[in-house]
Amino acid sequence: MNKPGVPVRPEEGAAASALARRDVLGLLTLSLGAGLPQPSAAAPAGQVTWGVHISLAPTWFDPAETPGIITPFMLMYAMHDAMVKPMPGGQLTPCLAESWSAAEDGRSYEFVLRAGTKFHNGDPITADDVKFSFERYRGTSSDVLKQRVEAVETPDQRHVVFRLKDPWPDFLTFYATATGAGWIVPRKYVEKVGDDGFKKAPIGAGPYKFASFSPGLELVLEAFDQYWRKTPSVKRLVLRVIPDESTRLAALKRGEIDIAYSIRSELAEELQRTPGLVLKPTVGSAPYWLYFPEQWDPKSPWHDQRVRLAASLAIDRESINQALTLGHSHLTGSVFPENFEFYWPPPKPAYDPEKAKKLLAEAGHPNGFDAGFYTCDSSYANIGEAVLNNLVAVGIRAKLRPLERAGFFKGYADKKFKNIIQGASGAFGNLATRLETFAVKDGTYAYGHYDDLDALFAQQAAELDYQKRKEILQKMQEIVHERAMYAPIWQLAFISGVGPRVGESGFGRIAGFVYTAPYEDITLKQA
């Protein structure tokens, strides 16, 4: 057991702490307050139907196979529950665990399970299930978790201890927010039916039970009236797959569905104009940017910081935002997600083409220059066209080169591109994981590196003091910003629509989560 235990405070807001030192009482007060089962409201009634934009895969019914995309969480929030997960109260909200604490030396974490919680089949949730779920996990980042966690101990059925090989400040980020390892499945049931059987008839601990699934057609869920947090208000949820967004909008207008995911551009305007329908923009964790891979090459114009800054000043983000996402994307001025832990908010990005031209002239390009290719993922070539027009207007003359998504990211990672790259990332994690991938030496998408950033990165990785680590990571973001390593564009809005029958839709309640959740909070309007 940890002695003495250092509790982790589930902080309010997006930048919830992983290793803040607070007293046990504070943690318990907050977590118990957030977690106590609420008095049952009226019995669940009615049905809410979704028009889902992507085919639902049975692999998403099993938290053990959570891939590195956000989509499976659309289903996991309904059918399953986690020890700790992002909720309206914060990124690290106690759920099946009523509290947790970290050892002083950062080498172990102890979780206390909430009493009286049950799976859909009535079995109680035990420490054994938590250990089994972790050990069974084989989804994204499973290798990182397995390499760093030495052992999972279950001293009794309400306590679970994770022993780490070395101090790892990001343990909770990975366990609770970036993977499916902390989502709990019933050991006895899984062992009885096997992996395939579990995917055909999953049993979880979430607010909704699996009822039926027709591959490619729809998933039907029924309210679980013994869910610990509260009894869901809506009895039946139907998630219908409608791949074409025009058809989704038509179905929403006709009242065939109540919620339509992903309605973009002109169709979003149409949705906005339709009486009775409500536009629901949510901003996920996917910033977009321009990257200058030649900034380390002294012969390239991009080596000059003024040129990179000029490119950033040339982008009319407000107009592009209005045109493409009806003004709902966030112009954060950062290439890191604003809802991530350790985020540093930079100054508002400016649009100043005159200053951009002046900077180019100072850098030796009074008539602009031929900037080569502007390479982007073809799915987002519309952003590229708009940004490129802005660049050309100040004299940065580039040619748009949209590549098919997979080819683009492979080329980006293989460091095959030159000139300008329009990049984006919606990967899970925190600021440390993002910086590691995009800004420091040997990062998957880093074409070069700066020694001071590398040194700071190494420093934060060994820093156990939360506040000090935060300061280092924020300093790194400042450097990335000041050096104009990137020209940020925006943090993209995901636009959906809600029909007239829905009361609380669940959109935008969890920071960085673009789908509806928590499902138990969704309501229908009274007839």
Binding site: K199, G216, L217, S246, K253, G423, S425, F428, T437, F438
Partner: protein
């Protein structure tokens, strides 16, 4: 006859083998499926784990050998995306596609054949021009556009029909029309040209000279013979409707095989694409084999030719 059957059967097996080889290697030219299953920025270790899970880290010839070994046992592999056996997925979608294809085929034949006959017997007149216009529109209007216009008019404005999905007979009307129009146009054109050819044949002229009424000449002597190539084409078209109604099934959210193929292509789900293409190819090869055998049975010149 025996030698002919063995030879034709051998051709069919070789065709399927070449198809398996082509689809297996061509689908891999499209790129790495792992990059579509994760967010950009995902670690290389995660991508390598996906490669390992799907066996994509093995040499291509090993992958192909394993694929063929499984295929010999009727196993088309497991979908990367759905993590479900491809055969199970195919069979779950097949009834929906068959229903849609039969409805669209019925529409295409009921409209295409009579209008083709009418156009042939009224060459250069109103019905011929109307038929040509119908065929021109059916062949040139993109089916996604037709589908969306139908949804807009009949679902959103008139509110007569459900916009999407499968369920009752009302769900079937718009997708069957959108899918069937193209084939109706094809059947109309073939019927017209086939009828024109038959109507100019000596035996039809003879029938007319014998003083038979024109309606009897058309119905009894011309139509039956003109129908043979149309029905042969319809057989192949039915298979295409079942397996590759990609656009219509996507627009109407119809849970059929075409949408499965679309999903397979979108997610670079190699086993799904391979499976659907191979099953579709096998169906076509079987139909062709059957037609060859029937022809050979009827006409000895065919089975005796070297």
């Amino acid at each position: 006859m025996k030698e002919f059957v063995i030879r034709r059967f051998g051709y069919s097996v070789v065709s399927l083998f070449l198809l398996s080889l082509t689809i297996f290697f061509f689908v891999r030219v499209t790129g790495d499926p792992a990059t579509l299953l994760v967010e950009p920025g995902t670690s290389e270790a995660d991508i390598a784990a996906i490669h390992h899970q799907f066996g994509l880290d093995r040499p291509l010839w090993v992958q192909y050998g394993l694929f063929m070994a499984k295929l010999a046992h009727g196993d088309l592999g497991r979908s990367f995306y759905y993590q479900t056996p491809v055969m199970e997925l195919y069979l779950s979608r097949f009834p929906h596609s068959l229903l849609l294809a039969v409805a669209a085929m019925a529409f295409s034949l009921l409209v295409g054949i009579p209008s083709g006959v009418l156009a042939a017997v009224r060459v250069g007149r109103f019905w011929d021009s109307a038929g040509k216009l119908f065929a021109l529109l059916g062949l040139s209007l993109p089916s996604f556009w037709v589908g969306l216009v139908l949804i807009l008019f009949f679902s959103v404005y008139l509110r007569w029909l459900p916009s999407s999905g499968a369920g009752g007979p009302l769900h079937l009307i718009m997708p069957a029309f959108a899918l069937g129009w193209y084939f109706a146009a094809a059947h109309m054109r073939l019927t017209r040209s086939s009828m024109l050819e038959v109507l100019g044949a000596d035996y039809v002229k003879l029938a007319r000279l014998k003083g038979l009424p024109e309606s009897l000449v058309i119905a009894k002597h011309a139509f039956k013979n003109a129908l043979i190539p149309v029905l042969t084409l319809a057989g192949i078209n039915l298979i295409l409707m079942i397996n590759v109604a990609v656009v219509v099934e996507t627009v109407f959210a119809w849970p059929g095989v075409g949408r499965l193929l679309y999903e397979g292509i979108t997610f670079r789900d190699f086993p799904v694409v391979q499976g659907v293409v191979l099953i579709s190819g096998a169906m076509i090869v079987c139909v062709n084999l059957l037609v060859d055998l029937v022809y050979a049975f009827i006409d000895p010149r065919i089975r005796l030719e070297k």
